[in-house]
């Protein structure tokens, strides 16, 4: 959709040249076609409200309690109508969605007939019922007001011609002559576009309410399913990382250590002046270098401290290795999902790294708590603040990691500090 063509009435109203576009006519069509539907609904509403009206009538006008038989009859009638409302509203909503296209070209998701029981159970149904009450109760009142204003304005416009018939035209005081009527007519003509806009606004407001009430929620379960499958995928990926880390730690690393050890033993038996001594020493050095490299590689795949100590212990290790004093408060359940543990660990690691690099802080604090079904990680420092996600990729990378685990990252870092990074990670399996 280009911005050349407004897609709905409220958007069109904000453009210049609204009055000479097709939109006022579309708004008029919408208003006029509303009248029969709103009228029928208004009558229905009167039937529902009848017991109340009867009671009020009896009390106020006749100063006696209303007759029980009449009240009972009316009450039963209104209850039946109320009970039928979800079924009626299904039809009305369908018509209303179709009519909405007069002033709104955006698609509006509708629902198929879900079956009677499901119809009564869904929240969207009762939103439609509420819409019936609004269409039958409030809309007609607004229309009457608008109609009166339009009639008054038209009367003023035509008043110069009408006054000649010896009948004075009454606006808010009698007008006797054409001369008197002309200023009124001029004002009324000037008011015409204002009324057009008022009608447009009314139609737009009505369309907005219809859109809100009649948009059948896009299948939330499907969305949840998609999000869940993404989380599942990330979780599976995380389990895979853990498996690789274990394989390397339990298989490759000890074997490499063993190889290096054998080379070291061999060197003991090879005399310094032997031709084999030099290549053996080189091989030994290379094997040692490889051990260090493999250790770093394994740590990058999944921090081993996390596997061995759990989240709280691993975070304490991180705090121990920091260059400034870091206090850790941990209040955690025994079992956290793997993906949550890993994400939280990297959040703390990255955040403490940022503190060391940028903040010029003298101390930092890490809090690990649970709130409802969420793990909450907070890293704060007393540095000079001013952390900006748009500069540098550290924070955005962190946010991506958190999002993959279905969590949220919040950052408060005013210039002058202090800085607080807060991450919320859902732990629901």
């Amino acid at each position: 959709m280009t911005s050349e063509h407004p897609r709905h009435l409220a958007e069109a109203l904000r453009r210049r040249g609204w009055l000479i576009s097709v939109w006022p006519w579309r708004a008029l069509a919408y208003l006029v076609s509303t009248v029969p539907i709103a009228g029928v609904l208004a009558i229905g509403l009167l039937v529902v409200g009848a017991p109340l009206l009867a009671a009020a009538n009896a009390l106020v006008l006749h100063d006696r309690p209303p007759s029980v038989a009449l009240m009972l009859f009316l009450a039963v009638g209104s209850l039946i109508l109320l009970a039928l409302a979800p079924i009626v509203s299904f039809g009305v909503a369908a018509i209303e969605r179709w009519r909405l296209r007069l002033v709104d070209s955006r698609p509006l998701p509708a629902s198929p007939w879900p079956g009677l029981a499901a119809r009564y159970r869904s929240a969207a149904t009762w939103r439609e019922v509420a819409y019936l009450f609004w269409l039958g109760g409030f809309v007609p009142v607004a229309y009457w007001v608008l109609l009166l204003l339009v009639l008054l304005d038209l009367g003023m416009v035509t008043s110069p011609w009408l006054v000649g018939d010896a009948e004075p035209v009454v606006v808010w005081r009698p007008i006797e002559t054409t001369g008197e009527a002309i200023p009124y007519a001029i004002v009324a003509v000037l008011l015409l576009p204002v009324l057009c806009y008022a009608a447009g606004l009314l139609a737009a407001a009505q369309a907005a309410v219809a859109r809100w009430a009649l948009a059948w929620p896009v299948d939330a379960t499907a969305l949840r399913e998609v999000a869940r499958s993404r989380t599942r995928l990330v979780g599976a990926y995380e389990a895979e990382r853990r498996r690789i880390e274990r394989d390397l730690h339990d298989g490759a690393q000890p074997r490499l250590t063993s190889l290096t050890l054998q080379l070291g033993l061999a060197r003991l038996d090879v005399p310094e002046d032997s031709p084999a001594a030099r290549p053996l020493a080189v091989a030994h050095d290379q094997a040692r270098g490889l051990m260090v490299m493999l250790r770093q590689l394994v740590h990058g795949i999944r921090p081993q401290s996390l596997t061995d100590l759990g989240l709280a212990g691993a975070v304490r290790e991180l705090a121990n290795a920091a260059t400034i004093p870091v206090t850790v408060h941990a209040d955690l359940p025994a079992e956290l999902p793997e993906i949550v543990e890993t994400t939280a660990y990297f959040v703390v690691s990255e955040a403490l790294g940022n503190v060391a690099r940028h903040a010029e802080a003298t101390r930092a604090e890490v809090r690990l708590t649970t709130d409802g079904g969420d793990l909450v990680v907070e890293v704060s420092d007393d540095g000079h603040g001013g952390a900006d996600p748009t500069r540098g990729t550290g924070l955005t990378g962190l946010a991506d990691r958190v999002a993959a685990a279905d969590g949220r990252l919040l950052l408060a870092s005013p210039a002058g500090g202090p800085t607080l990074v807060r991450v919320e990670l859902p732990c629901r399996r």
């Binding site: 063993s258 054998q262 070291g264 003991l268 290795a321």
Partner: protein, 221 residues
């Protein structure tokens, strides 16, 4: 007291276990048992009453810190039992747990990589077996990096000496490392203990423990 040091060894990876047995045998240690899990380690150590236990940290059944916990349990039963623990990566918490066990000495915490430096590794084992303490240089370095104001008062040379001190070296060994006289080292050590407000001592092990205790404790606590 037999001249030969009797060792119980625990390492779950067979190749490395055999390599370590070969190494120990070559340097005249007697390997009473070489096992592959924490429960087996407990049984073997109780059965053989060795002069030294050498164990990996992450082992079956739990594959977390089972080896370390077995070592700590054994030292609870025999506070003077010398134990050397091998770790795949630096973990100050593990070193601390080990130092807190038993009589607080005769423990070694080493990165597995150190196995490659055959002679140094064997020296460390002997040192621990004869009552010393050995903490991996990487752990010491991490402890030294921790923000402790009094450390700021130390000169660069004093820091170097402190790092070697924490590894459990004697004045003579530190002197060779830094190419200075033993008397100079003695003076540095005296200054360090003074600046860190630690009790002066000539016993290598006591000095190591004093320094490690200082480094491990929170400045506030």
């Amino acid at each position: 007291m037999p001249s030969v040091t009797r060792v119980v060894l625990a390492e779950d990876e067979v190749l490395l276990r055999e390599g370590l047995v070969a190494l120990l045998t070559r340097f005249d240690f007697a390997v009473c048992a070489a096992v592959g899990s924490a429960p087996e380690l407990l049984d073997a150590a109780r059965e053989h009453q060795p002069d030294l236990v050498l164990t990996d940290i992450r082992m079956p059944p739990g594959r977390r810190d089972d080896g370390l916990r077995a070592a700590v349990a054994l030292r609870a039963e025999r506070p003077h039992l010398p134990v050397v623990v091998l770790s795949q990566y630096v973990q100050t918490g593990y070193a601390a747990a080990l130092l807190d066990s038993g009589d607080g000495q005769r423990v070694g915490y080493l990165l597995k990589d150190r196995v490659a430096e055959v002679t140094e590794f064997v020296d460390t084992l002997r040192r621990v077996a004869s009552g010393g303490t050995a903490i991996d240089p990487d752990v010491v370095r991490q402890l030294l990096h921790r923000p402790r104001d009094p450390l700021a008062a130390l000169s660069t040379r004093e820091r170097e000496v402190l790092a070697l001190l924490a590894e459990g070296r004697s004045n003579a060994s530190i002197a060779t490392r830094l190419h200075v006289s033993e008397a100079a080292v003695g003076k540095h050590v005296g200054n360090i203990l003074l600046k860190l407000d630690l009790p002066p001592s000539d016993d290598t092990n006591r000095r190591v423990l004093a320094v490690l205790t200082y480094l491990r404790n929170d400045p506030t606590g």
